[in-house]
Amino acid sequence: MRNYMIRRVGHSFFIILGLMALLFLAINVLGDPVTLLVGEDASQEAIQAVREKFGLNRPLYVRFGEFYWDLFHGDFGTSLRHQIDARGMVWNRLPNTAALAGVAFLFGSLGLPLGMLAARRPKGFIDRAVNILSFAAISIPQFWLGLMLILIVSVQLNLLPTSGFQGLGPGGWKFMILPALTLVPVILGRNAQITRATMIEEMGKQYVATARAKGLAENAVLYSHVLKNAAISIVTLMGDELAGLMNGATVTEIIFGWPGLGKLLIDAISSRDLPVVTASVFVVALLVMTINLTVDLFYTWLDPRVSYK
């Protein structure tokens, strides 16, 4: 087990390194760092100045080494726009995104009981209803849902503020409802689908017939046998959903002016703030890694059969 964990963490570490190498190569080989920093129609002097300032005249391998050296020291440079430490900016935004995603994920977990309910009687009325509704939920463009919520709840009914942020404390909850609501349907729908599909698949297995044959009540069969076995797949896929929340969070943060990681990244891209872009990508990758690692370790607890050799 310990060896497995060490290897697993090493693997994650390797993936992050690979990813950052890819980012470096993409910026410096595929793209042109000067253009990314000053824009396409900069004067010759401005381009020279940027080349001097960021040492872009040096050979690629020197810069590559320096990039990794800084990475290991957690140094991403200074934000070009705000003149403050890029790493600090990203860490400050992290709790905001985490809070938003956390709330959305919590409500999205309601998809589990929905999926179970549907799986009780495959092809029954509830199953069909849950199936279509969950597909509808994942087919809604999130940015559109956000705009619609603003239009209906904020503009027409005047119930909640259209956008903004007033801290994560008790005063700020009003600003959180609409962004969280925008994120919920996709997670809810996917969770319901995952639960339903996994449960139905498990129910076709032999041990279920055995449990029924020995006279167990249907509820006991479903919740103590089927659910436990289905949980393994459900947890994996829910971990993916949590990681995928970053997609929705980015769009939602833009629409509602929520100062999270996604908005930071989009703003940094728009203002050609390369250090902040690099730092955001690194932190998001780190976040996804951590989630995946946690899910993997969760397995041992859920399924003692999994061997870690």
């Binding site: 693997h11 390797f14 993936i15 992050i16 690979g18 990813l19 890819l22 980012l23 993409a26 910026i27 595929l30 793209g31 990314l36 495959p122 092809k123 279509i132 597909f135 509808a136 994942i138 087919s139 809604i140 463009p141 999130q142 940015f143 559109w144 705009l147 619609m148 603003i150 239009l151 503009v155 698949e201 076709g204 990681a243 995928g244 970053m246 997609n247 980015t250 769009v251 833009i254 990244l265 989009i266 891209i269 872009v277 990508v281 998001v284 990758a285 996804v288 890694m289 995946n292």
Partner: protein
Amino acid sequence: MLNETAVLKRRPNLLTATWRRPLVQAFFGDTITLVSATFLLFIIFVAVFAPLVSPHDPEDQQLRLRHLPPGSTGMAMDRTADPPVQDERYFLLGTDHLGRDMLTRLFYGARISMTVGILGVLVSGIIGMFLGLMAGYYRGVVDDVIMRAVDVFMSVPLLLLALMVLYILGPSFTNIIIVFAVARWMLYCRVTRGVVLSLREQAFVDAARAIGCSDRRIIGRHIVPNLITPLLTIAALEVPRNILTESTLSFLGFGIQPPQSSWGLMLAQGRQYIVTAWWVVVVPGTAIFLTALAFNLFGVWMRAVSDPLQRWRWLRASKEAKEAGVQY
């Protein structure tokens, strides 16, 4: 003699035989799938024949008629005629902030949205399949390198990867296709590799090798045909995801650029007028939603009928078909 006619009568013609096939029966027996498929056909039809079915010109600006609500009529100035003449026009879905017909722009937008959705899947599918074949067939170092790359790419959220690619390459139609190639190939690669790994151990591949077939022939003749179904089922569910991603990217300003138009871009342009003219946001949004939903419902049906463990739920052969001895 009499017997012979009876036998002849009982053999169904091609049309009836097709109709009796379980897959066809299942398709027409399932209302949701039928409606989804019809809707998709309709969208593809208007996308392909946009110039023929559109009531107006997508670029024709009638500034005096801007933000007309759905179902209104207005006196437009026809500038193509000489001298320009007034002409009464009907706008089924209203007009946008430049007085352009929403319905027409929706039809033309469908072209980009559908092309991006389908082309994105094709390109990423082909790349993924190729790399998956290499990894699964040749194993060893090739396999290790490709699978580590899969791990790296899988660990980045789709939108983040897409934004990075468009940040570095700049926004354009081609680059959006590149985004999907870069960000989604892993999916097809993993499935392909899995299938290849199980196939290459099987007797018919050994037999092919034993009689001296080249690697190319084994892959092309014996392995690729077995990949079509699993890859197609992923692809069907990837198209709606691509359409949603494209609209999101265009909405954020990193996707399709004007004067080209996609549904996401229409939404982005209408966003600031949402309070005064709701239809400029509701119309393209509904189009994206319904198309994605139809693709998802159709895709999940496809997955179900191609999965041997689930197939029985859908394919309940009619008594007639069984008597006619239809195989499936």
